[in-house]
Protein backbone atom coordinates (compact mmCIF):
# COMPACT_ATOMS: atom_id res chain seq x y z
CA UNK A 1 0.00 0.00 0.00
CA UNK A 2 2.65 2.42 1.10
CA UNK A 3 4.81 1.60 -1.88
CA UNK A 4 1.94 2.25 -4.27
CA UNK A 5 1.11 5.56 -2.66
CA UNK A 6 4.63 6.77 -3.11
CA UNK A 7 4.69 5.71 -6.73
CA UNK A 8 1.47 7.61 -7.32
CA UNK A 9 2.84 10.72 -5.71
CA UNK A 10 5.94 10.66 -7.82
CA UNK A 11 3.98 10.04 -10.96
CA UNK A 12 1.60 12.85 -10.28
CA UNK A 13 4.51 15.20 -9.78
CA UNK A 14 6.02 14.05 -13.02
CA UNK A 15 3.08 13.85 -15.37
CA UNK A 16 0.34 15.54 -13.46
CA UNK A 17 -2.60 13.31 -14.19
CA UNK A 18 -2.39 9.68 -13.33
CA UNK A 19 -6.09 9.00 -13.32
CA UNK A 20 -6.96 10.72 -16.57
CA UNK A 21 -6.58 7.59 -18.63
CA UNK A 22 -7.84 4.27 -17.39
CA UNK A 23 -4.52 2.63 -16.67
CA UNK A 24 -4.32 -1.12 -15.98
CA UNK A 25 -3.46 -0.41 -12.38
CA UNK A 26 -6.46 1.86 -12.10
CA UNK A 27 -8.82 -0.75 -13.50
CA UNK A 28 -7.38 -3.42 -11.25
CA UNK A 29 -8.08 -1.31 -8.17
CA UNK A 30 -11.51 -0.27 -9.39
CA UNK A 31 -12.64 -3.83 -10.13
CA UNK A 32 -11.05 -5.35 -7.03
CA UNK A 33 -12.82 -3.14 -4.52
CA UNK A 34 -15.97 -5.23 -4.49
CA UNK A 35 -13.96 -8.32 -3.49
CA UNK A 36 -13.20 -6.62 -0.17
CA UNK A 37 -16.78 -7.27 0.97
CA UNK A 38 -15.65 -10.86 1.67
CA UNK A 39 -11.87 -10.93 1.31
CA UNK A 40 -11.24 -7.77 3.35
CA UNK A 41 -9.65 -4.54 2.17
CA UNK A 42 -6.91 -5.41 -0.34
CA UNK A 43 -7.54 -9.14 0.15
CA UNK A 44 -6.38 -9.30 3.78
CA UNK A 45 -9.38 -11.46 4.71
CA UNK A 46 -10.07 -11.18 8.47
CA UNK A 47 -12.51 -14.12 8.59
CA UNK A 48 -11.82 -17.81 9.11
CA UNK A 49 -12.86 -19.70 5.98
CA UNK A 50 -12.72 -17.05 3.26
CA UNK A 51 -9.08 -17.14 2.11
CA UNK A 52 -6.54 -14.34 2.22
CA UNK A 53 -5.78 -13.38 -1.41
CA UNK A 54 -3.81 -10.11 -1.09
CA UNK A 55 -0.17 -10.92 -1.81
CA UNK A 56 -0.96 -14.39 -3.20
CA UNK A 57 1.19 -15.50 -6.15
CA UNK A 58 -0.20 -14.13 -9.40
CA UNK A 59 -0.27 -17.29 -11.48
CA UNK A 60 -2.29 -19.13 -8.87
CA UNK A 61 -4.76 -16.24 -8.57
CA UNK A 62 -5.17 -16.25 -12.34
CA UNK A 63 -5.60 -19.99 -12.47
CA UNK A 64 -8.24 -20.10 -9.75
CA UNK A 65 -10.28 -17.17 -11.09
CA UNK A 66 -10.19 -18.60 -14.59
CA UNK A 67 -11.22 -22.03 -13.35
CA UNK A 68 -14.02 -20.65 -11.18
CA UNK A 69 -15.37 -18.76 -14.20
CA UNK A 70 -15.16 -21.87 -16.40
CA UNK A 71 -16.80 -24.14 -13.79
CA UNK A 72 -13.60 -26.16 -13.61
CA UNK A 73 -12.99 -25.65 -9.93
CA UNK A 74 -15.14 -26.39 -6.91
CA UNK A 75 -16.37 -23.17 -5.43
CA UNK A 76 -19.63 -21.61 -4.48
CA UNK A 77 -19.90 -17.83 -4.50
CA UNK A 78 -16.72 -17.68 -6.59
CA UNK A 79 -18.16 -19.75 -9.42
CA UNK A 80 -20.86 -17.11 -9.76
CA UNK A 81 -18.84 -13.97 -9.18
CA UNK A 82 -15.87 -14.86 -11.39
CA UNK A 83 -18.21 -15.05 -14.38
CA UNK A 84 -18.78 -11.33 -13.96
CA UNK A 85 -15.32 -10.48 -15.26
CA UNK A 86 -13.72 -10.90 -18.71
CA UNK A 87 -10.33 -12.59 -19.04
CA UNK A 88 -8.70 -9.17 -19.37
CA UNK A 89 -10.47 -7.94 -16.25
CA UNK A 90 -9.48 -11.07 -14.35
CA UNK A 91 -5.84 -10.30 -15.22
CA UNK A 92 -6.19 -6.72 -14.00
CA UNK A 93 -7.75 -7.94 -10.77
CA UNK A 94 -5.09 -10.59 -10.10
CA UNK A 95 -2.30 -8.13 -10.90
CA UNK A 96 -3.80 -5.85 -8.28
CA UNK A 97 -4.07 -8.49 -5.55
CA UNK A 98 -0.66 -9.96 -6.29
CA UNK A 99 0.88 -6.56 -5.55
CA UNK A 100 -0.82 -6.11 -2.14
CA UNK A 101 1.09 -7.03 1.00
CA UNK A 102 0.26 -10.45 2.44
CA UNK A 103 -1.29 -10.02 5.90
CA UNK A 104 -1.02 -13.13 8.07
CA UNK A 105 -4.13 -14.71 9.54
CA UNK A 106 -5.12 -13.60 13.02
CA UNK A 107 -6.49 -17.11 13.67
CA UNK A 108 -3.19 -18.99 13.50
CA UNK A 109 -3.20 -22.22 15.50
CA UNK A 110 -0.08 -22.74 17.57
CA UNK A 111 1.74 -25.78 16.24
CA UNK A 112 4.23 -28.00 18.04
CA UNK A 113 4.95 -30.04 14.91
CA UNK A 114 8.52 -30.48 13.68
CA UNK A 115 9.39 -29.00 10.30
CA UNK A 116 9.82 -32.57 9.08
CA UNK A 117 6.02 -32.86 9.08
CA UNK A 118 5.92 -30.77 5.93
CA UNK A 119 9.16 -31.91 4.33
CA UNK A 120 7.24 -33.20 1.32
CA UNK A 121 5.56 -29.83 0.74
CA UNK A 122 8.58 -27.54 0.61
CA UNK A 123 9.77 -28.45 -2.85
CA UNK A 124 6.75 -26.79 -4.38
CA UNK A 125 5.38 -24.32 -1.80
CA UNK A 126 8.81 -23.00 -0.75
CA UNK A 127 10.86 -23.62 2.36
CA UNK A 128 8.57 -21.39 4.45
CA UNK A 129 5.35 -22.00 2.52
CA UNK A 130 5.79 -18.62 0.86
CA UNK A 131 4.75 -19.88 -2.58
CA UNK A 132 6.43 -19.31 -5.91
CA UNK A 133 5.61 -19.51 -9.61
CA UNK A 134 2.26 -21.24 -9.84
CA UNK A 135 2.51 -22.78 -6.37
CA UNK A 136 0.31 -20.86 -3.94
CA UNK A 137 1.44 -19.26 -0.73
CA UNK A 138 0.08 -21.26 2.17
CA UNK A 139 2.04 -19.75 5.09
CA UNK A 140 -0.03 -17.42 7.25
CA UNK A 141 -3.29 -18.55 5.63
CA UNK A 142 -6.35 -19.29 7.83
CA UNK A 143 -6.02 -22.79 9.34
CA UNK A 144 -9.68 -23.65 8.79
CA UNK A 145 -9.38 -22.68 5.14
CA UNK A 146 -6.16 -24.67 4.66
CA UNK A 147 -7.78 -27.73 6.17
CA UNK A 148 -10.87 -27.39 3.96
CA UNK A 149 -8.64 -27.03 0.90
CA UNK A 150 -6.52 -30.05 1.83
CA UNK A 151 -9.65 -32.13 2.34
CA UNK A 152 -10.89 -31.07 -1.11
CA UNK A 153 -7.69 -32.46 -2.67
CA UNK A 154 -7.89 -35.58 -0.55
CA UNK A 155 -11.48 -36.27 -1.52
CA UNK A 156 -10.84 -35.49 -5.16
CA UNK A 157 -13.15 -32.47 -5.31
CA UNK A 158 -10.20 -30.31 -6.32
CA UNK A 159 -8.31 -32.09 -9.04
CA UNK A 160 -4.62 -31.35 -9.10
CA UNK A 161 -2.10 -33.94 -10.18
CA UNK A 162 0.58 -32.22 -8.12
CA UNK A 163 -1.45 -32.33 -4.90
CA UNK A 164 -2.27 -36.03 -5.19
CA UNK A 165 0.23 -36.75 -2.42
CA UNK A 166 -2.28 -35.64 0.23
CA UNK A 167 -4.63 -38.49 -0.67
CA UNK A 168 -2.38 -40.80 1.30
CA UNK A 169 -2.43 -38.58 4.40
CA UNK A 170 -5.06 -38.95 7.11
CA UNK A 171 -7.23 -36.15 8.43
CA UNK A 172 -5.28 -35.69 11.65
CA UNK A 173 -2.07 -35.15 9.71
CA UNK A 174 -3.77 -32.70 7.37
CA UNK A 175 -5.13 -30.79 10.34
CA UNK A 176 -1.62 -30.61 11.82
CA UNK A 177 -0.24 -29.38 8.50
CA UNK A 178 -2.93 -26.73 8.30
CA UNK A 179 -2.08 -25.57 11.82
CA UNK A 180 1.64 -25.64 11.04
CA UNK A 181 1.37 -23.47 7.94
CA UNK A 182 -1.15 -21.07 9.52
CA UNK A 183 1.45 -20.15 12.13
CA UNK A 184 4.34 -19.62 9.69
CA UNK A 185 4.96 -16.06 8.58
Amino acid sequence: MLRVTIVFLMMSLAVGSVFASATEQGDGARLSRTCAGCHGTDGASPGKVIPIIGGQVEKYLQKTLGEFAADKRPGDVMRNLAKGYSTVEQKQITAYFMARPWVNTSHAVASTAEASLVASCKGCHGSQGEGKGSFPRIAGQHPDYLYLALMEYKQGERTSGLMKLVQKLDETTLKQMAAYYSSLN
Partner: protein, 421 residues
Protein backbone atom coordinates in the same frame (compact mmCIF):
# COMPACT_ATOMS: atom_id res chain seq x y z
CA UNK B 1 -12.80 26.49 -5.89
CA UNK B 2 -13.58 28.93 -3.18
CA UNK B 3 -11.99 28.67 0.23
CA UNK B 4 -14.09 26.70 2.66
CA UNK B 5 -14.26 28.09 6.10
CA UNK B 6 -14.62 26.26 9.36
CA UNK B 7 -17.03 23.80 10.71
CA UNK B 8 -19.40 25.94 12.70
CA UNK B 9 -19.59 23.95 15.84
CA UNK B 10 -19.15 25.15 19.37
CA UNK B 11 -17.84 22.86 22.05
CA UNK B 12 -20.00 19.90 21.10
CA UNK B 13 -18.14 17.86 23.65
CA UNK B 14 -17.59 14.61 21.78
CA UNK B 15 -14.56 12.50 22.33
CA UNK B 16 -14.22 11.43 18.73
CA UNK B 17 -14.69 14.89 17.30
CA UNK B 18 -11.59 16.69 16.27
CA UNK B 19 -12.11 20.40 15.82
CA UNK B 20 -8.81 21.16 14.19
CA UNK B 21 -9.20 24.07 11.82
CA UNK B 22 -9.45 23.10 8.18
CA UNK B 23 -7.23 26.11 7.55
CA UNK B 24 -4.37 23.66 7.59
CA UNK B 25 -4.99 23.39 3.87
CA UNK B 26 -4.87 27.13 3.29
CA UNK B 27 -1.92 26.68 0.92
CA UNK B 28 -4.29 26.63 -2.03
CA UNK B 29 -4.14 23.49 -4.12
CA UNK B 30 -5.34 21.22 -1.38
CA UNK B 31 -8.65 22.78 -0.61
CA UNK B 32 -10.77 19.71 -1.13
CA UNK B 33 -13.27 18.81 1.52
CA UNK B 34 -15.76 15.98 1.21
CA UNK B 35 -18.56 15.77 3.73
CA UNK B 36 -20.26 12.41 4.12
CA UNK B 37 -23.62 12.26 5.91
CA UNK B 38 -24.74 8.93 7.38
CA UNK B 39 -22.21 6.52 8.86
CA UNK B 40 -23.87 3.26 7.79
CA UNK B 41 -22.87 0.75 5.11
CA UNK B 42 -22.64 3.34 2.33
CA UNK B 43 -21.37 6.39 4.17
CA UNK B 44 -18.70 4.82 6.36
CA UNK B 45 -17.31 3.00 3.32
CA UNK B 46 -17.26 6.16 1.22
CA UNK B 47 -15.46 8.13 3.93
CA UNK B 48 -12.87 5.40 4.43
CA UNK B 49 -12.21 4.85 0.73
CA UNK B 50 -11.74 8.53 -0.04
CA UNK B 51 -8.89 8.46 2.46
CA UNK B 52 -7.54 5.20 1.02
CA UNK B 53 -7.60 6.56 -2.53
CA UNK B 54 -6.24 10.01 -1.71
CA UNK B 55 -5.31 10.74 1.88
CA UNK B 56 -4.85 14.45 1.14
CA UNK B 57 -8.60 14.98 0.74
CA UNK B 58 -10.22 16.30 3.91
CA UNK B 59 -13.09 14.02 4.97
CA UNK B 60 -15.79 14.77 7.52
CA UNK B 61 -18.34 12.13 8.46
CA UNK B 62 -21.55 13.28 10.11
CA UNK B 63 -23.67 10.65 11.84
CA UNK B 64 -26.60 11.15 14.20
CA UNK B 65 -25.98 8.05 16.32
CA UNK B 66 -23.10 7.35 18.69
CA UNK B 67 -22.46 3.95 17.23
CA UNK B 68 -22.87 1.97 14.07
CA UNK B 69 -25.26 -0.95 14.65
CA UNK B 70 -25.37 -3.43 11.78
CA UNK B 71 -28.67 -4.57 10.28
CA UNK B 72 -26.98 -7.60 8.70
CA UNK B 73 -26.57 -10.18 11.50
CA UNK B 74 -29.26 -8.39 13.58
CA UNK B 75 -31.62 -11.27 12.73
CA UNK B 76 -29.10 -13.53 14.46
CA UNK B 77 -29.36 -11.33 17.56
CA UNK B 78 -33.15 -11.73 17.65
CA UNK B 79 -32.77 -15.43 18.34
CA UNK B 80 -29.72 -15.30 20.58
CA UNK B 81 -27.09 -16.47 18.08
CA UNK B 82 -25.21 -13.17 18.54
CA UNK B 83 -25.38 -10.33 21.02
CA UNK B 84 -25.94 -6.61 20.39
CA UNK B 85 -22.31 -6.01 21.29
CA UNK B 86 -21.29 -8.26 18.36
CA UNK B 87 -23.01 -5.94 15.87
CA UNK B 88 -22.23 -2.55 17.45
CA UNK B 89 -19.10 -0.56 16.61
CA UNK B 90 -17.63 2.86 17.27
CA UNK B 91 -16.14 5.17 14.68
CA UNK B 92 -12.67 5.35 16.24
CA UNK B 93 -11.12 3.40 13.36
CA UNK B 94 -12.19 6.09 10.92
CA UNK B 95 -11.11 8.87 13.27
CA UNK B 96 -7.68 7.22 13.44
CA UNK B 97 -7.43 7.59 9.66
CA UNK B 98 -7.80 11.34 9.97
CA UNK B 99 -11.52 11.45 9.24
CA UNK B 100 -13.37 13.94 11.43
CA UNK B 101 -16.40 12.24 12.88
CA UNK B 102 -19.13 14.59 14.04
CA UNK B 103 -22.26 13.55 15.85
CA UNK B 104 -25.21 15.56 14.55
CA UNK B 105 -28.42 15.15 12.62
CA UNK B 106 -28.42 16.97 9.29
CA UNK B 107 -31.70 18.72 8.55
CA UNK B 108 -31.06 20.99 5.59
CA UNK B 109 -28.76 22.13 2.82
CA UNK B 110 -27.77 25.25 0.92
CA UNK B 111 -26.35 23.69 -2.21
CA UNK B 112 -25.49 27.05 -3.80
CA UNK B 113 -23.44 28.17 -0.83
CA UNK B 114 -22.22 24.60 -0.36
CA UNK B 115 -23.08 23.69 3.21
CA UNK B 116 -25.29 21.32 5.16
CA UNK B 117 -27.19 22.41 8.23
CA UNK B 118 -27.32 20.21 11.31
CA UNK B 119 -29.23 20.57 14.55
CA UNK B 120 -26.06 21.76 16.24
CA UNK B 121 -24.11 23.52 13.52
CA UNK B 122 -23.29 23.77 9.85
CA UNK B 123 -20.53 22.31 7.73
CA UNK B 124 -19.29 23.51 4.36
CA UNK B 125 -18.34 21.09 1.65
CA UNK B 126 -16.79 20.94 -1.80
CA UNK B 127 -18.52 17.64 -2.44
CA UNK B 128 -21.26 15.98 -0.43
CA UNK B 129 -22.02 12.27 -0.22
CA UNK B 130 -25.19 11.16 1.57
CA UNK B 131 -26.18 7.64 2.56
CA UNK B 132 -29.36 8.09 4.62
CA UNK B 133 -30.75 4.55 4.49
CA UNK B 134 -34.52 4.12 4.71
CA UNK B 135 -37.57 5.27 6.61
CA UNK B 136 -40.96 3.62 7.06
CA UNK B 137 -44.26 4.45 5.37
CA UNK B 138 -46.46 4.27 8.44
CA UNK B 139 -48.85 6.73 6.77
CA UNK B 140 -50.15 3.95 4.48
CA UNK B 141 -51.75 2.15 7.39
CA UNK B 142 -54.63 3.32 9.52
CA UNK B 143 -53.98 3.52 13.23
CA UNK B 144 -50.19 3.52 13.16
CA UNK B 145 -49.84 6.04 16.00
CA UNK B 146 -47.01 6.21 18.52
CA UNK B 147 -48.58 3.51 20.67
CA UNK B 148 -48.79 1.17 17.66
CA UNK B 149 -45.16 1.84 16.74
CA UNK B 150 -44.18 0.72 20.21
CA UNK B 151 -46.51 -2.24 20.23
CA UNK B 152 -45.49 -3.56 16.81
CA UNK B 153 -41.69 -3.18 16.47
CA UNK B 154 -40.19 -3.31 12.95
CA UNK B 155 -36.68 -4.23 14.14
CA UNK B 156 -35.69 -3.35 10.58
CA UNK B 157 -33.22 -0.67 11.61
CA UNK B 158 -30.93 -2.40 14.04
CA UNK B 159 -31.05 -0.79 17.47
CA UNK B 160 -33.47 -0.59 20.42
CA UNK B 161 -36.21 -2.38 18.44
CA UNK B 162 -33.90 -5.32 17.82
CA UNK B 163 -33.54 -5.66 21.59
CA UNK B 164 -37.29 -5.25 22.12
CA UNK B 165 -38.20 -7.99 19.63
CA UNK B 166 -35.51 -10.29 21.01
CA UNK B 167 -36.94 -9.86 24.52
CA UNK B 168 -40.51 -10.41 23.35
CA UNK B 169 -39.50 -13.65 21.64
CA UNK B 170 -37.68 -14.75 24.76
CA UNK B 171 -40.72 -14.03 26.93
CA UNK B 172 -43.11 -15.93 24.64
CA UNK B 173 -44.86 -18.88 26.29
CA UNK B 174 -44.70 -22.29 24.58
CA UNK B 175 -47.71 -22.70 22.30
CA UNK B 176 -47.77 -18.98 21.56
CA UNK B 177 -48.11 -17.20 18.24
CA UNK B 178 -45.67 -14.87 16.52
CA UNK B 179 -46.82 -12.83 13.56
CA UNK B 180 -44.64 -10.94 11.11
CA UNK B 181 -45.35 -8.89 8.02
CA UNK B 182 -43.23 -8.60 4.88
CA UNK B 183 -43.01 -5.16 3.24
CA UNK B 184 -43.94 -4.56 -0.39
CA UNK B 185 -41.29 -3.48 -2.95
CA UNK B 186 -38.99 -1.71 -2.85
CA UNK B 187 -37.51 -2.44 0.55
CA UNK B 188 -34.03 -3.00 1.99
CA UNK B 189 -32.62 -6.51 1.88
CA UNK B 190 -35.19 -8.46 -0.16
CA UNK B 191 -34.39 -11.79 1.58
CA UNK B 192 -34.20 -10.14 5.04
CA UNK B 193 -37.77 -10.87 6.20
CA UNK B 194 -37.53 -14.50 5.06
CA UNK B 195 -34.22 -15.01 6.81
CA UNK B 196 -35.85 -13.61 9.94
CA UNK B 197 -38.83 -15.92 9.53
CA UNK B 198 -36.50 -18.92 9.17
CA UNK B 199 -34.52 -18.02 12.27
CA UNK B 200 -37.62 -17.34 14.36
CA UNK B 201 -39.11 -20.67 13.25
CA UNK B 202 -35.88 -22.43 14.18
CA UNK B 203 -35.92 -20.68 17.56
CA UNK B 204 -39.55 -21.58 18.28
CA UNK B 205 -38.90 -25.19 17.34
CA UNK B 206 -35.99 -25.46 19.74
CA UNK B 207 -37.24 -23.31 22.61
CA UNK B 208 -41.01 -22.77 22.49
CA UNK B 209 -42.73 -26.06 21.82
CA UNK B 210 -46.03 -25.87 19.99
CA UNK B 211 -45.60 -22.25 18.91
CA UNK B 212 -46.56 -20.91 15.49
CA UNK B 213 -45.22 -18.25 13.16
CA UNK B 214 -47.72 -16.54 10.87
CA UNK B 215 -46.19 -14.61 7.95
CA UNK B 216 -48.30 -12.10 6.07
CA UNK B 217 -46.74 -11.29 2.70
CA UNK B 218 -48.11 -8.86 0.11
CA UNK B 219 -46.18 -10.70 -2.64
CA UNK B 220 -47.59 -13.62 -4.62
CA UNK B 221 -44.67 -15.74 -3.52
CA UNK B 222 -41.44 -15.42 -1.54
CA UNK B 223 -39.82 -12.32 -3.04
CA UNK B 224 -36.18 -13.44 -2.98
CA UNK B 225 -34.36 -16.79 -3.19
CA UNK B 226 -37.88 -18.29 -3.15
CA UNK B 227 -37.06 -21.87 -4.08
CA UNK B 228 -34.28 -22.11 -1.50
CA UNK B 229 -36.32 -20.67 1.34
CA UNK B 230 -39.28 -22.86 0.44
CA UNK B 231 -37.14 -25.98 0.35
CA UNK B 232 -35.80 -25.23 3.84
CA UNK B 233 -39.24 -24.40 5.24
CA UNK B 234 -40.69 -27.61 3.77
CA UNK B 235 -37.83 -29.61 5.25
CA UNK B 236 -37.81 -28.08 8.72
CA UNK B 237 -40.79 -25.92 9.63
CA UNK B 238 -44.02 -27.29 8.15
CA UNK B 239 -45.61 -27.52 11.59
CA UNK B 240 -44.50 -24.01 12.61
CA UNK B 241 -44.72 -21.62 9.66
CA UNK B 242 -48.10 -20.52 8.37
CA UNK B 243 -47.12 -18.56 5.24
CA UNK B 244 -49.83 -16.44 3.61
CA UNK B 245 -49.42 -14.51 0.37
CA UNK B 246 -51.13 -11.44 -1.10
CA UNK B 247 -52.00 -10.11 2.33
CA UNK B 248 -52.21 -6.31 2.36
CA UNK B 249 -52.47 -4.76 5.81
CA UNK B 250 -55.02 -1.95 6.03
CA UNK B 251 -55.01 -1.06 9.70
CA UNK B 252 -53.57 -1.76 13.11
CA UNK B 253 -55.05 -1.31 16.56
CA UNK B 254 -52.63 -0.88 19.43
CA UNK B 255 -55.37 -1.05 22.10
CA UNK B 256 -56.62 -4.43 20.90
CA UNK B 257 -53.15 -5.51 19.73
CA UNK B 258 -54.54 -6.56 16.35
CA UNK B 259 -53.63 -5.97 12.73
CA UNK B 260 -56.12 -6.26 9.89
CA UNK B 261 -56.21 -6.82 6.16
CA UNK B 262 -59.32 -5.78 4.30
CA UNK B 263 -60.80 -9.20 5.05
CA UNK B 264 -59.36 -10.53 8.26
CA UNK B 265 -58.21 -9.49 11.73
CA UNK B 266 -55.11 -11.09 13.25
CA UNK B 267 -54.07 -11.39 16.88
CA UNK B 268 -50.73 -12.72 18.13
CA UNK B 269 -48.56 -12.73 21.23
CA UNK B 270 -45.66 -11.11 19.40
CA UNK B 271 -46.16 -8.95 16.33
CA UNK B 272 -43.21 -7.88 14.20
CA UNK B 273 -44.51 -5.36 11.69
CA UNK B 274 -42.07 -4.46 8.91
CA UNK B 275 -43.73 -1.56 7.07
CA UNK B 276 -43.26 -0.49 3.45
CA UNK B 277 -40.28 1.78 2.93
CA UNK B 278 -38.94 4.93 1.33
CA UNK B 279 -35.61 6.76 1.26
CA UNK B 280 -34.47 8.10 4.62
CA UNK B 281 -35.96 11.45 5.68
CA UNK B 282 -32.60 13.13 5.10
CA UNK B 283 -32.93 12.54 1.35
CA UNK B 284 -36.30 14.34 1.35
CA UNK B 285 -34.99 17.18 3.55
CA UNK B 286 -32.08 17.80 1.16
CA UNK B 287 -34.33 17.95 -1.91
CA UNK B 288 -32.96 14.75 -3.42
CA UNK B 289 -36.36 13.13 -4.04
CA UNK B 290 -38.62 14.28 -6.89
CA UNK B 291 -42.22 15.28 -6.14
CA UNK B 292 -44.40 12.25 -5.30
CA UNK B 293 -41.45 9.83 -5.49
CA UNK B 294 -39.84 7.71 -2.78
CA UNK B 295 -36.22 7.20 -3.88
CA UNK B 296 -33.36 9.44 -5.05
CA UNK B 297 -32.49 9.46 -8.78
CA UNK B 298 -28.75 9.53 -9.52
CA UNK B 299 -26.39 9.46 -12.49
CA UNK B 300 -25.31 5.86 -13.08
CA UNK B 301 -21.61 6.66 -13.55
CA UNK B 302 -20.96 8.74 -10.45
CA UNK B 303 -24.10 8.36 -8.32
CA UNK B 304 -24.40 12.15 -8.29
CA UNK B 305 -27.94 13.35 -7.70
CA UNK B 306 -29.79 14.39 -10.87
CA UNK B 307 -31.56 17.03 -8.79
CA UNK B 308 -28.84 18.68 -6.70
CA UNK B 309 -25.40 19.08 -8.33
CA UNK B 310 -22.37 18.25 -6.20
CA UNK B 311 -24.34 15.85 -4.02
CA UNK B 312 -23.86 12.08 -4.43
CA UNK B 313 -26.47 9.69 -3.05
CA UNK B 314 -25.58 6.08 -2.26
CA UNK B 315 -27.06 3.02 -0.60
CA UNK B 316 -30.67 2.07 -0.01
CA UNK B 317 -31.94 5.60 -0.69
CA UNK B 318 -31.08 5.51 -4.40
CA UNK B 319 -33.69 4.88 -7.06
CA UNK B 320 -32.75 1.64 -8.78
CA UNK B 321 -34.33 2.81 -12.02
CA UNK B 322 -31.42 5.25 -12.23
CA UNK B 323 -28.59 3.64 -10.26
CA UNK B 324 -29.05 0.17 -11.74
CA UNK B 325 -30.69 -3.18 -10.99
CA UNK B 326 -28.84 -3.70 -7.69
CA UNK B 327 -30.83 -4.75 -4.61
CA UNK B 328 -30.92 -2.53 -1.54
CA UNK B 329 -28.26 -4.37 0.43
CA UNK B 330 -25.34 -3.56 2.69
CA UNK B 331 -23.01 -5.18 0.18
CA UNK B 332 -24.28 -2.91 -2.60
CA UNK B 333 -24.16 0.17 -0.35
CA UNK B 334 -20.51 -0.71 0.37
CA UNK B 335 -19.87 -1.03 -3.40
CA UNK B 336 -21.59 2.27 -4.05
CA UNK B 337 -19.54 3.98 -1.34
CA UNK B 338 -16.37 3.01 -3.22
CA UNK B 339 -17.74 4.13 -6.58
CA UNK B 340 -18.77 7.51 -5.16
CA UNK B 341 -15.42 7.86 -3.36
CA UNK B 342 -13.45 7.24 -6.57
CA UNK B 343 -15.71 9.59 -8.55
CA UNK B 344 -15.45 12.39 -6.02
CA UNK B 345 -11.66 12.14 -5.67
CA UNK B 346 -11.23 12.18 -9.46
CA UNK B 347 -13.61 15.05 -10.05
CA UNK B 348 -12.11 17.18 -7.27
CA UNK B 349 -8.82 16.93 -9.15
CA UNK B 350 -10.49 17.90 -12.40
CA UNK B 351 -10.36 14.38 -13.79
CA UNK B 352 -12.95 12.07 -15.23
CA UNK B 353 -14.54 9.62 -12.84
CA UNK B 354 -13.52 5.99 -13.42
CA UNK B 355 -16.15 3.53 -14.60
CA UNK B 356 -18.23 2.08 -11.76
CA UNK B 357 -18.17 -1.57 -10.70
CA UNK B 358 -20.68 -3.05 -8.27
CA UNK B 359 -21.25 -6.44 -6.73
CA UNK B 360 -23.60 -8.05 -4.26
CA UNK B 361 -23.74 -11.18 -2.20
CA UNK B 362 -26.46 -11.76 0.38
CA UNK B 363 -26.15 -14.77 2.60
CA UNK B 364 -29.33 -15.71 4.47
CA UNK B 365 -29.59 -18.16 7.31
CA UNK B 366 -32.35 -20.74 6.90
CA UNK B 367 -31.65 -22.39 10.25
CA UNK B 368 -29.31 -21.91 13.18
CA UNK B 369 -26.40 -23.22 11.09
CA UNK B 370 -27.29 -23.40 7.40
CA UNK B 371 -27.33 -20.57 4.90
CA UNK B 372 -28.17 -19.91 1.25
CA UNK B 373 -26.89 -17.07 -0.91
CA UNK B 374 -27.42 -14.96 -3.98
CA UNK B 375 -24.68 -13.14 -5.89
CA UNK B 376 -24.67 -10.29 -8.39
CA UNK B 377 -22.15 -8.38 -10.51
CA UNK B 378 -23.10 -5.09 -12.15
CA UNK B 379 -21.30 -2.89 -14.64
CA UNK B 380 -21.76 0.22 -16.68
CA UNK B 381 -22.89 -0.57 -20.21
CA UNK B 382 -21.48 2.10 -22.50
CA UNK B 383 -23.99 1.48 -25.29
CA UNK B 384 -27.02 1.48 -23.01
CA UNK B 385 -25.71 4.33 -20.85
CA UNK B 386 -26.69 2.59 -17.62
CA UNK B 387 -25.57 0.01 -15.10
CA UNK B 388 -26.62 -3.51 -15.98
CA UNK B 389 -26.58 -6.91 -14.32
CA UNK B 390 -24.18 -9.58 -15.57
CA UNK B 391 -26.62 -12.50 -15.71
CA UNK B 392 -24.14 -15.40 -15.48
CA UNK B 393 -22.71 -13.96 -12.27
CA UNK B 394 -26.05 -13.19 -10.68
CA UNK B 395 -27.56 -16.42 -9.38
CA UNK B 396 -28.41 -18.21 -6.15
CA UNK B 397 -26.57 -21.01 -4.37
CA UNK B 398 -27.34 -24.54 -5.54
CA UNK B 399 -28.69 -25.37 -2.09
CA UNK B 400 -28.16 -24.68 1.61
CA UNK B 401 -25.17 -25.59 3.74
CA UNK B 402 -23.48 -25.06 7.07
CA UNK B 403 -20.34 -23.99 5.18
CA UNK B 404 -22.28 -21.06 3.71
CA UNK B 405 -23.33 -20.25 7.25
CA UNK B 406 -19.66 -19.92 8.20
CA UNK B 407 -19.04 -17.79 5.11
CA UNK B 408 -21.90 -15.50 6.20
CA UNK B 409 -20.16 -14.90 9.52
CA UNK B 410 -16.88 -14.24 7.68
CA UNK B 411 -18.58 -11.89 5.27
CA UNK B 412 -19.83 -9.74 8.14
CA UNK B 413 -16.41 -9.61 9.81
CA UNK B 414 -14.89 -8.67 6.49
CA UNK B 415 -17.29 -5.95 5.43
CA UNK B 416 -17.29 -4.35 8.90
CA UNK B 417 -13.52 -4.06 8.76
CA UNK B 418 -13.77 -2.73 5.20
CA UNK B 419 -16.05 0.07 6.45
CA UNK B 420 -14.75 0.96 9.86
CA UNK B 421 -11.18 -0.15 10.55
Amino acid sequence: MKRRDFIKYGAVGLGAVSLCAPNVFAAGHNRRRVVVVGGGYGGATAARYIKLIDSSVEVILIEKNDQFISCPISNWVLVGMKRMSDISFGYQGLAARGIQVIKDEIIGIDAKAGYVQGRKGKVEYDRLIVSPGIDFRYDLIEGFDDAARKMFPHAYKAGPQTVQLQQELQALQPGGTVLMTVPDNAYRCPPGPYERASLIADYLQKNKKGSKLVILDPHQKIASKGKLFKAAWDAYYTDIIDYRTEEIIASVDAKKKTISTYEEEFKADVINFIPDQKAGKLAFDLGLIPEKKLWAPVKPLTLESTLVPGVHVIGDATDSLSSGPMPKSGFVANSMGKVAAAAVVAELSGKKAPLPSFANTCYSMVSGTEAIFITGVYKYDLAAGKNIKIKEASITSPGRSAYYGKCADDWATSIWSDMLS
